[in-house]
């Protein structure tokens, strides 16, 4: 193009938009709608995912790894495994690089009688995270050596509080915490550091279970595949899943994601067709103009640029407006659709960039054929018709 050509191209594009507002608005509505739906869905789903992870954490561990040969019927009646396995197993699992489990906690438990009471002595090793994986907020209890955490019923029945000292199996421990009432067997537990409990029970280097959290980061893992994964590292161990509301919720989220996996492509496809039709109508409306430009000797590139640049502009404006609308709708109405994720729904600013790139690409793809048809148009035919 000659000097002033690019500026003239820009003036032509803007003047044409003003001249044919309907065509511009039609394509803009399509892009804005598509961007708004995609941004809204992704914003809500992202909040749902984070909330599910939080729920999972709040619900506690949901995988239990116990020694080979553990009778699960006995396990559920006792609430702990009778057999033992090496403490080193938890380190081996942490170093295994498995993606399906995380937040590993080794425990050694024994039901004992203390001051005439039936208590469950529970030794806990501070959580071990997967080596090389992302650092996550630790779960479980982190009990210092020489300290005890008491279940509510044990503390109340023995009249103990924080700061008191107790003697247990010949060892003195200071009560660091009295736990909230759980309404479960946890209320009769006395927790201490794993290594203290190992010494008290004379079981050095032994544990009888590893608690873990099933990872939700990948595609859905069946218990069978997780069991195979863990057994590939720790042959013979039993792996059992403690199903919870959080897992049910994770499944609901996966169902929503599957639905969105259809909805988002369908919306994008419809928007592409809509924009393509608008671009084609624009080319038809401008047949004479294209013919005249060709008669003036204008090459294919500036003519294609006239259409493609306009569509790119529509894509960028549609992305910004669509992001704002989609985010506002997700924040405003998402809480009604997904009440449990209400707190988590917040604008995702990174989506603005992705929306801009995606919408511009959508417009480019949709208007490519119409632009090419404009370039291929026979100017003589149009000018002769006129």
């Amino acid at each position: 193009m000659g000097n002033g050509g690019p500026m003239l191209l820009l003036r032509m594009m803007l003047a044409e938009i003003v001249h044919r507002k309907g065509n511009f608005l039609s394509a803009l509505i399509a892009v804005t709608t598509a961007a708004a739906i995609c941004v809204g869905v992704i914003t809500v789903c992202d909040a749902s995912r984070r909330e599910t992870v939080r729920l999972m954490r709040d619900m506690g561990f949901n995988l239990l790894i116990v020694p080979e040969g553990t009778d699960m019927t006995d396990f559920w009646s006792r609430s702990f495994a009778e057999g033992e396995m090496p403490e080193e197993y938890v380190r081996r699992l942490a170093d295994s690089g498995l993606m399906t489990v995380q937040h590993l906690v080794a425990r050694l438990q024994k039901r004992i009688t203390w001051q005439g009471r039936d208590v469950l002595l529970t030794g806990i090793l501070p959580e071990m995270q997967m080596t090389g994986g992302p650092v996550k907020a630790p779960m479980g209890l982190d009990i210092p050596r020489g300290s005890a955490y008491l279940g509510r019923r044990v503390a109340d029945s023995a009249g103990l509080g924080v700061g008191d000292e107790i003697e247990l199996l010949g060892r003195r421990l200071r009560v660091a915490t009295v736990l909230e009432e759980q309404g479960s067997i946890d209320d009769i537990r006395v927790y201490a550091h794993l290594h203290d409990v190992q010494e008290m029970l004379d079981r050095p280097g032994r544990i009888n279970e590893i608690e873990a959290l099933q990872c939700l980061c990948g595609s859905k893992q069946s218990l069978g595949s997780i069991r195979d994964d863990v057994r590939s590292v720790l042959p013979g161990v039993e792996v059992t899943e403690m199903r919870s509301i959080a897992i049910a919720r994770a499944e609901t989220r996966r169902m929503v994601e599957r639905f969105n996996g259809v909805l988002v492509p369908a919306v994008v496809l419809m928007a592409t067709i809509w924009v393509g039709l608008a671009a084609m109508r624009n080319v038809n409306d401008r047949r004479v103009e294209i013919g005249v430009l060709r008669a003036l000797g204008v090459a294919s590139q500036p003519i294609a640029a006239l259409f493609l640049a306009k569509m790119m502009l529509i894509g960028l404006i549609g992305a910004v407006v669509g992001w704002a609308v989609g985010t506002a709708l997700a924040v405003h109405y998402g809480t009604a659709i997904f009440p449990i994720t209400a707190k988590g729904i917040a604008p995702i600013y990174a989506l603005l960039g992705w929306a801009a790139v995606g919408a511009a690409l959508l417009c480019l793809v949709a208007s490519w054929l119409p632009a090419m048809s404009a370039v291929m148009q026979d100017p003589a035919e149009v000018l002769s018709e006129e």
Binding site: M1, G297, A380
Partner: protein, 216 residues
């Protein structure tokens, strides 16, 4: 020099074959003003578009200064059209959403030198000084044709191909436009004009008659 040698153009339509040009041989010398007359549908517009490199003949050759136009690729043909040929149409074919000044500058998209002040001066010279910021729908037919003429002249072409340039104008505007074409001719430009009216023929060096696609 424009040379058509045995040029024929056949269209295949729903009603069968139409021979728009039939073995036309013609030479237009540099600086010559040639008027082409003939009844509607005799092939006048096809002749102009063929000379302008926009309609490939079915047979024969068409050359400008010895260069066979249709042996060139589309890009080089477009380039030649941009640099050497100006078109003026009966229906003006201005871009409706651009003002007169930007319409005159449109050849800049073809890579031609363009200067707003030069375009404005040209419009002034054609009596459009007061109207250059108006868009085509706001202009009279005579004014539109002057803008179209300015768009053809801005790139200082060697050849102007005009298709019924006065066909939609009142006598006063027709005379003015013919006068501008005559000025271009006096300055050494070559003109091939298709026209029904006598004005063009009066100013032309020679007049050709076309009937059923043949020069008679």
């Amino acid at each position: 020099m424009i040379v058509l040698d045995g040029v024929s153009k056949v269209y295949h339509g729903a009603d069968g074959e139409v021979r728009a040009l039939d073995d036309v041989s013609l030479t237009v010398a540099p600086g010559e003003f040639v008027a082409v007359r003939g009844p509607s549908g005799c092939g006048k517009s096809t002749l102009l578009l063929t000379v302008g490199g926009m309609v490939r003949p079915t047979a024969g050759t068409m050359s400008i200064d010895g260069s066979d136009l249709y042996a060139l690729g589309p890009a080089r043909r477009a380039r030649l059209r941009a640099e050497r040929i100006g078109f003026v149409f009966q229906l003006f074919h201005l871009i409706p959403y651009l003002n007169a000044l930007d319409n005159v500058l449109a050849p800049a998209l073809a890579g031609m030198h363009s200067d707003r002040s030069e375009a404005a001066a040209l419009l002034e010279r054609l009596g459009m000084g007061e109207r250059m910021h108006h868009r085509p729908p706001e202009l009279s037919t005579g004014e539109r044709q002057r803008v179209a003429l300015a768009r053809a002249l801005i790139k200082r072409p060697e050849i102007i191909l005009a298709d019924e340039p006065t066909g939609n104008l009142d006598p006063e505007n027709a005379a003015a436009v013919t006068g501008y074409l005559a000025d271009f001719h006096r300055d050494g430009g070559t003109i091939l004009v298709v026209s029904h009216d006598d004005l063009a023929a009066e100013n032309a060096d020679r007049t050709l008659h076309l009937e059923r696609g043949r020069v008679v």
